[in-house]
Symmetry: C2
Subunit: 377 residues, 2 copies
């Protein structure tokens, strides 16, 4: 019987010495990490990683972080301040990243020596970044994407990990989970899931790179399942927000979250039959869903939408509440709707379909609890 | 492909006519229902059932409800007031049960004509009730238990459904789910799970009896899995309460709930290898866990325990906050601990073990987030 009930590659502080010793002496400092991105989550990722590269001999101590250069109100450049203070004063103020984090405003320079590339930029920048980096990275590089905003296109889900693999010609894993960045920055206990394709030893290395006593990472061989969880949960969070706004109570909210989780599973398996049910019991699945449906902006704006009886559109509420930022969940619901409509499969996903019908004003918010009766177009 | 992504027997208002027509004319009124119990949840169950027995020809309209007789402050008997007002003024005030609900203070009389027996009493009364009813029920009776407080004994989990089957010699299903009784009484959308053994047609009948447009019931062939969910979730709710009391944030709470769910699965499968993973995606599993970890008295008292730094014992807090009622979660954690200790399996269940060690004062509340490092005895 296993040591614990958890399957798969599990990070555990006590296992680190074993792992470390499994790298032969000749492998010392053979892995060099660059974080591509430096927002809130990117900065926290750099902090986690920097605490491990100095601890384990197989990594170079230095963690390079590509920073989209900005001029601060003080007149200083963001990279200069980060390198002087070890703090991302704009996106993660008050938290030391580690002295071994080096901010670099030059993307090509930041990645050229790295063989472990961590992608954590806003989703819409990835295509441009990949185009700039094509042909300019090490042949032995491995990638990992922490980007949750994958698109669902008409021809099916379009995964960021796949974009990276195609454009850069490298293997790419993903890391997702119930990960509110500021809570991890405060070293509050969290979990995450690494999804990988084939390369188990690369996955073990990602686990070692991210894992700390307060950040517990598990690797599973299901990159598509892990990545789809990260996107589809936002549609469920919209539904949960409607329930909150209508003050339907705990039973209803739990029911809607559960139905949402099952639709996430079914949708993922429809596109990738290799997706495993067990993935949805990982941090990227049920745990991230819980976090997102309890807090988060998708839930919040949907709550306000229902309280206004649908009289203010999502566009208006987004403008009021999010300063022009778009809600991922509403966009994903639209994309999911289109892909299901093309195939005539809407009836198999009553919750996803209801979220889209409600968010576009074709059904009232109360329709969210009549998902087996209503038939959204 | 299926009509929806949901597996198993699914209740749906539109399916009712089909089901009804599947009972031949000769079967009219062949099922007679008695609800054994009349507390808050029992009264809501009677209301749900009574709305269906008048709707479907296969059931007798009358639903008999055994009521433990009490004298009300007005001097009237509780059964008399229920039968006069159609309201359980003590345990579900303000809600009409249906004119076809007949309160009966005589247990043996209440059950003698019934062939569908719904058990929904406090857990500790069931042994006595079964002893009184042995040999006094119809040979063709089927039972269903709505009682969540099953015991875990040294020799393994002791299921209420099993007690009923053994003592009364009848087949017994269970109904569990994210079911705060008052929310269902207000007809807010909820779901529930029927767990059954072998008798699929009996399970279909239970689904038909309970299902309404606002109470969606699914039957699955996993009586032990469904019933164990109902008990073990209370241990996880204690852990979730500690996290709330320590103000650890959303990531941590989601992580603890997820780890708890996986330990529930592993514990259940250890005793009953037939238990299915998919059961934990049903209302009895993840949804009930969410409801219980968000509200509920187990979570609440554990929150207070952590806020007091463990200085007030659970016994004291129970006395202060619950008027002498015992917390199910703490008792279950104790029982789970004993059964695991006997077999030396505690290390496989770090969360269950930590809940026990914390609730008995052997570890501080903060140990709940160090479950992979601490080793509770």
């Amino acid at each position: 019987m296993n040591k614990t009930v958890f399957s798969s590659v599990l990070c555990h502080p006590l296992l680190f010495p074993l792992r470390l010793s499994s790298f032969p002496a000749g492998n010392a400092k053979m892995y060099k990490v660059t974080v591509v991105g430096s927002g809130n989550w990117g900065s926290v990722a750099a902090k986690l990683i920097a605490s491990n590269t100095v601890k384990f001999g197989s990594f170079h101590d230095e963690v390079r972080m590509w920073v989209f250069e900005e001029k601060l109100p003080s007149g200083e450049k963001l990279t200069e301040v980060i390198n002087k203070t070890n703090e991302n004063v704009k996106y993660l103020p008050g938290v030391k990243l580690g002295k071994n984090v080096v901010a670099d405003p030059d993307l090509e320079n930041a990645v050229k020596d790295a063989n472990m590339l961590v992608f954590v930029t806003p989703h819409q920048f990835m295509d441009g970044i990949c185009k700039r980096l094509a042909g300019k990275i090490r042949a032995d590089a491995e990638g990992i994407s922490l980007i949750k905003g994958m698109e669902v296109k008409k021809e099916g889900p379009s995964m960021i990990s796949n974009l990276i693999t195609k454009q850069l010609g490298i293997n790419c894993s993903v890391l997702m989970g119930a990960n509110i960045a500021n809570e991890i920055a405060m070293e509050k206990f969290s979990e995450a899931t690494v999804g990988y394709n084939q390369n188990k030893s690369a996955a073990d290395r990602w686990v070692q790179l991210f894992c700390t006593p307060y950040f517990n990472v598990t690797a599973i061989q299901d990159v598509e399942g892990v990545e789809l969880c990260g996107t589809l949960k936002n549609v469920v969070a919209i539904a949960a927000g409607f329930v909150d706004g209508l003050e339907m109570g705990n039973n209803t909210k739990a029911a809607i979250m559960r139905i949402g989780l099952k639709e996430m599973m079914a949708f993922s398996k429809m596109w990738f039959p290799s997706v495993k049910d067990s993935t949805f019991f990982e941090s990227c699945g049920v745990a991230d869903l819980i976090t997102t449906c309890m807090g988060g902006r998708n839930r919040k704006v949907a709550d306000a939408y229902a309280r206004n009886g649908g009289k203010k559109s999502f566009d208006e509420l987004e403008a009021e509440m999010l300063h022009g930022q778009k809600l991922q969940g509403v966009l994903t619901a639209q994309e999911v709707h289109e892909v299901l409509r093309d195939r005539g499969w809407q009836h198999m996903f009553p919750l996803f379909s209801a979220v889209h019908a409600i968010s576009t004003g074709r059904l009232p918010p109360s329709a969210i609890v009549k998902i087996s009766e209503e038939k959204p177009r």
